[in-house]
Amino acid sequence: MQGSATTDPAGDRGVKIRISNLGKVFSLGDSTVDAITDVNLEVRTGEFICIVGPSGCGKTTLLRILAELEVPSRGEVVIARADPAAPLTSMIFQETSIFPWMTVRDNVAYGLRLRHVADDQVARTVDHFIRLAGLERFADAYPHQLSGGMKQRTSVARAFSNDPEILLMDEPFAALDEQNKALLQEELLRIWSETRKTVVFITHSIDEALVLGDRIVVMSRRPGTLKAEFKVEFPRPRRVYDLKADPAFGQLSRKIWTLLREEVVP
């Protein structure tokens, strides 16, 4: 994957990520498995895009390609890079990915320290995001002392504090209980509204996609490809349960489910 360093003439609403004919084939011994095939997508700068698909449809593979953790087999991804010196992507993983051997503070500081950012600036940035994520009381705790929700908050804070151009989120709240999920979704939106970064968010939950996204892309079953897309035009700032009470939310949710259903039913 090559990030072409063209600056964006269209200002902050230009195309940030252009995915063309992307495919990924995994080989398992003698046989091969097509994880994703012919994925075409454009993500605009500052857009919050949600990709919804049945489990095993290759959405994580797509995200891992964007994170440069996998190399595509076909097609390409072109990313408009604003600052070649700044980090391009930070990924928030589904499972616990914060380092058990570091305190919350050191976890959040990880990306900055790797880049040798000056100590006082690291401290300022880390304090800011620890506060935003509601982690002040746990700043010096180790992950084993934290609840699942607190661990994912740390993970979110770690990704944001690194200040990447694009945030990649792989079902970060899937393992949380309903209440914590709603809470973290709202907090994510609050943190995001401060920075307005481009976000690619993967989920199997239609409701979550509707709550968070500007646009929803539905993926087919494996080999995953993009099937349809929906604009989500609920005003921001959004509150999870206010939004869910809106009849338009229910209608859109049903429309997407009707489409997704065919992909889930074997």
Partner: protein
């Protein structure tokens, strides 16, 4: 718990009667733990006293204590302990550091593993002390050969433990490092070493155990000091009580090393302190 006539079950707090101090002491675990060795030593003393146990091989514990005090008073015991500890410490450092480095390097590189591991696997089954004559041929019978043989013993424990620790690090942590664009060196420093630390400590623990075994045997050769020398010389001159003193001191040394390691471990691996991952 009482059941009243109407069939109501009432669950109330238990009222515990406080046992007397003496009774609680006898029941306590500490007491039980101390009681068994005391009982064994007392029986031993008694059996030697009535002539049922041969004091040429099993001298009365009291006579061993007297021998211990004699060796302390002459100052010789501390000289012996000092030399043995020094040999263990130097040898352990010489073996543990390369073991750690190789373990981390090979842990993160499959190709390096494929290249180096067969050679190390071929050497591993050799009892380390069997290499001692060769080591003495190369390095002479002085201190160096003792450091080297201890280092060899420690190296293997440290290497295999570190390797296992690094290989067992969950892949997601390496993915995170890669996504954050950590360099190779940064990955070693921030992921491989801290992630493998619990295993590394196990390696150090096993390594120190091996070091003590090896040093005691090695001290039979080319030296006039050390706890091993004390034991071997006692055998030659049939001074069995001194030999027992040597055994007691070796046991105490081994125990002391483990205690020290546990303290260091608690400092260095705080995320392990209360259980957890």
């Amino acid at each position: 718990m009482t059941v009243t006539a109407a069939g109501v079950v009432r669950i109330t707090a238990e009222r515990k009667e406080r046992a007397s101090l003496a009774l609680r002491l006898v029941r306590s675990e500490i007491f039980a733990a101390i009681a068994s060795p005391v009982l064994i030593l007392a029986t031993w003393e008694l059996l030697v006293g009535v002539g049922l146990l041969d004091s040429r091989f099993f001298p009365a514990p009291s006579s061993v204590v007297i021998a211990l005090f004699d060796l302390i008073q002459s100052g010789q015991l501390f000289v012996d302990i000092g030399w043995t500890v020094l040999r263990v410490v130097i040898g352990t450092l010489l073996g543990a550091i390369p073991g750690l480095v190789f373990g981390v390097l090979l842990g993160l590189s499959q190709i390096a593993r494929a290249f180096v591991l067969p050679a190390i696997n071929a050497l591993y089954p050799i009892p380390k002390i069997a290499m001692f004559p060769l080591v003495m041929m190369i390095f002479g019978i002085g201190e160096t050969s003792k450091w080297i043989i201890v280092a060899i013993a420690v190296f293997f424990q440290m290497f295999f433990s570190t390797l296992a620790g690094v290989v067992n690090i969950e892949k997601i942590y390496l993915d995170v490092a890669s996504n954050f664009k950590a360099s190779r060196w940064q990955t070693y420093r921030t992921i491989a070493v801290p992630g493998a630390l619990p295993f590394i400590f196990t390696g150090l623990q096993l390594g120190l155990g091996m070091a003590l075994i090896v040093v005691i045997i090695a001290e039979n050769f080319g030296t006039q000091v050390g706890i091993g020398y004390l034991i071997w010389r006692s055998w030659q001159v049939f001074e069995v009580r001194d030999m027992y003193v040597g055994l007691v001191v070796v046991a105490a040394l081994g125990y002391g090393f483990q205690l020290l390691l546990q303290q260091v471990q608690r400092r260095i691996i705080p995320w392990k302190a209360q259980g957890g991952t």
